[in-house]
């Protein structure tokens, strides 16, 4: 179990921090709000050049096999500037999903294309507004030369801008369990695939996808490697969301710290008021715990440790709670300007508010943690 970044990971972290603050600062997020683009293509191609799209891709398919901790470091640093890109949805989650599928020409080609930046993908699994990863109603039935698909997927990140959407599904005759589910490759813009964009408060690209009697070819259906595959992909998505929450929280906290050291009221820096000091000190303790637990969860998923699901539920629950505390306090301590759109603080709160819901809230993850612990 490693809770400290190694030399290569530290170097990645530094270059990511420099990249995001210079190439994709919060102003870039603001500029994109004015357009209908999901992300800036030029920025993404720079990220691809840096090798970030191939971090999780196997070496024999042109990837770096750098490991999930490296991806987590990028997610943390990217969240600090609210950077928009297909990094999480495509390079992390979709690649992880494909990695857990049995090799096939289609799968290998897609992985290579994702690594090279030729394509991006989105991963569509959840079907309900409240997080419930065990429900899969989407079905695919055998049909002439391929499969016939029916189902709905809820709030899929970067679906409309992706070239391929990975849809989890099951056979019509099977009650769902990991071992008989599979992954379907779908063009989100094909006829018969209806996607409705969902504008959430974090102003990113989400869509509900509705598929009825849509046909795919035989080789566009991929099989999971084993019965644990889906759980591992969900763990990847969840821990990456936790990383983004950590990045948002850390940035909001550090900006608040800077603000209270500068802002004066009643003739004193407000950062010298003991009540604020104690609240900030407490937040700092929570952020340090979160850092530990995030690194542990990344390492657990990367190494496929037996307690990976437990570590991930821990990380997401603590990330949710810490982000709620820290981003809410950041607004409160900034006072009036904290609620203006002009200041970035509110943007971190809004992004964190969405991430707290995506991939499971704390009530869900504490219950999951308890179940996995046997109580």
């Amino acid at each position: 179990m490693s809770l400290v970044l190694n030399e290569e990971q530290s170097i990645l972290q530094q270059s990511a921090a420099e990249f995001f603050s210079s190439v994709s600062p919060v102003t870039a997020f603001r500029d994109l709000r004015e357009t209908s683009q999901a992300y800036d293509a030029e920025t993404w191609s720079q990220m691809v050049e840096l090798g970030w799209s191939s971090i999780l891709v196997p070496e024999d398919l042109g990837g770096l096999e750098f490991g999930l901790t490296g991806m987590g470091v990028l997610a943390i640093e990217g969240a600090r500037t609210l950077a928009k890109s297909p990094l999480s949805s495509s390079a992390a989650v979709s690649v992880a999903a494909l990695n857990h599928c049995k090799p096939s020409t289609q799968r290998d080609a897609l992985l290579s294309a994702l690594a090279s930046g030729a394509k991006t993908a989105a991963f569509a699994h959840l079907e309900t507004a409240q997080f419930n990863p065990s429900i899969i109603r989407t079905q695919s039935a055998s049909a002439a030369d391929g499969f016939n698909i029916n189902g709905r997927k809820s709030c899929v990140e970067n679906a409309q801008s992706a070239d391929v959407v990975l849809i989890t599904a099951r056979s019509p005759d099977a009650g769902y369990s990991d071992s008989n589910g599979f992954v379907l490759l779908i063009d989100p813009n094909a006829e018969g695939v209806e996607s409705n964009s969902i504008g959430l408060v974090d102003e990113r690209e989400y869509a509900d996808i509705s598929i009825s009697d849509f046909k795919i070819a035989k080789d566009e259906k991929l099989e999971w490697n084993d019965g644990a595959a889906l759980t591992q992909v969900i763990n990847t998505a969840t821990v990456i969301a936790a990383c983004e929450l950590y990045g948002c929280s850390l940035e909001a906290f550090e900006r608040t710290l800077e603000y209270v050291k500068d802002r004066e009221q009643f003739g004193h820096k407000i950062g010298s008021f003991q009540a604020l000091q104690h609240r900030l000190a407490h937040q700092y303790t929570q952020l340090e715990l979160l850092k530990t637990v995030i690194y542990d969860a990344l390492s657990a998923v990367e190494k496929m440790r037996k307690d990976a699901s437990l570590a991930v539920s821990h990380a997401k629950a603590l990330a949710n709670d810490t982000a709620k505390l820290v981003t809410t306090e950041a607004i409160q301590m900034h006072g009036g300007i904290g609620i203006t759109d002009e200041l970035d603080i509110g943007l971190f709160y809004k992004r964190a508010r969405v991430l707290r819901t995506l991939w499971g809230d704390s009530v869900y993850h504490r219950s999951h943690f308890a179940s996995l612990s046997g109580y």
Binding site: I198, G335, G336, I339, T340, T357, V363
Partner: protein, 400 residues
């Protein structure tokens, strides 16, 4: 029959005859009747209702009749309010002039100022806004820096005011400005009225994280204001301001009441979004517990308001108790906002695209807008400082 009873019957009959049906029932944000130089109305009925009330002076029923007001006694005003509630009449005019500036002028204004401004307030001819806070003076209002130099016959104002509600839409602004830097910071502040069409006044809307922008920042760049626009004494504006601040705090704590408007309750929404048993029990016990906790706190806050009322009637009022209401009410409301969004999942986080129903949109909007409640009108931190000092008599630290 007492005179008051007679007044009640008369009023009731008049309202029933004169208040158009469309002007009864809950006011929608689009239905509010505002004053202004170029006054417009949401509807013909609204104009009719406004004009009828204006002509009786009942847009400002407690202002003296000599200034076009209703001239009602406090008892009569209460009757009018009750009768309007009975029919659920919409307010015939909404403005910060009515409840804030007017009373200040009646208390501190000169005869000329009253004659000039009060009738216009009553008749809705001008829309007023308030200029108190500054970027560098939030909680510590008295450290304000917006400067008014004495130039003999006029003041020359330079500086800026922020958090001015409806600053963009208003015609005149009542401001606190610094006229002297000698002595304690509360001295040397002056209360002054400024026509916003005066050269050098600029207004910029402030966009909020909730997407709304009802606040503005007002900039003053060499703005000349005649000396007779000062209300109260020069350098003594803090006295006027303190009297007004009371009104503002009261308004903020009112604000924190009527949310989740209509009849939808948190438990109802929980049942809809989380589910419930056949007996109507919310199926997720953690949300059920959190909702009961919140509902208990709201009940306690409501009952405590009522206790204060009863204590006042019994002349046994603990004057410290009202101090706690804003802190409690606003904090608890934010608890509800977060809880509701938690229950709705992504449905409670809608920003655009018309995929969300009315309750969902309101949940998101209030979540974001209500972050202001623990900041505006005295931050939670200031409220706790005040409670510590006044109610608990804790010693003033060098720092609080």
């Amino acid at each position: 029959m007492s005179d008051l009873d007679a007044f009640r019957l008369e009023t009731r009959a008049w309202l029933e005859e004169n208040c158009p049906k469309s002007q009864r029932g809950p006011v929608t944000p689009d239905g509010v009747i505002w004053p202004g130089r170029n006054q417009t109305f949401p509807s013909e009925d609204a104009r009719l209702w406004f004009e009828r009330m204006r002509d009786k002076g009942w847009t400002c029923p407690d202002y003296p009749a000599e200034y076009a007001g209703g001239g009602l006694s406090p008892a009569e005003e209460k009757v009018l309010r009750e009768e309007m509630q009975r029919l659920n009449c919409c307010p015939p005019l909404t403005d910060q002039g009515i409840g804030m500036l007017g009373p200040a002028l009646l208390e501190f204004g000169t005869e000329e100022q009253k004659a000039e401004h009060l009738p216009k307030i009553v008749r809705g001819e001008l829309r007023w806004c308030q200029g108190y806070s500054e970027p560098g003076a939030g909680s510590d209002l008295a450290s304000l820096q917006c400067k008014a130099e004495d130039k003999g016959d006029h003041f020359l104002i330079n500086g800026t005011k922020i958090w001015t509600s409806y600053g963009v839409e208003s015609d005149w602004i009542f401001c606190l400005v610094r006229t002297s830097n000698d002595g304690p910071k509360q001295e040397g502040i002056t209360f002054i009225l400024v026509d916003m069409e005066t050269p050098g006044v600029k207004v910029k809307a402030i966009d909020l994280i909730s997407g709304a922008s009802e606040f503005a920042q007002v900039f003053f760049d060499d703005v000349k204001v005649p000396k007779d626009h000062v209300v109260g004494e020069i350098h003594k504006g803090w006295t006027v301001a303190k009297s007004l601040l009371k009104h503002e705090r009261k308004m903020m704590s009112e604000l924190s009441k009527g949310v989740l408007g209509g009849t939808v309750t948190l438990p109802d929404l929980a049942k809809e979004y989380i589910g419930c048993s056949d007996e109507g029990e919310i199926t997720q016990p953690l949300y059920r517990d959190a909702i009961a906790h919140h509902e208990m706190n709201m009940r306690a806050i409501g009952l405590t308001g009522y206790r204060t009322h009863q204590e006042a009637l019994a002349r046994k009022m603990d004057t410290n108790v009202p101090l706690i209401m804003k802190y409690l009410g606003t904090s608890e409301l934010q608890v509800k906002d977060e809880l509701l969004v938690d229950m709705m999942g992504v449905r409670g986080l809608g920003w655009k695209d018309e995929q969300f129903n009315e309750n969902e949109e309101r949940a998101t909007r209030e979540l974001l807008f209500n972050k202001a409640l623990t900041i505006a009108g005295g931050t939670n931190e200031i409220q706790l400082n005040i409670i510590a000092k006044r109610a608990l008599g804790l010693p003033k630290g060098p720092h609080s």
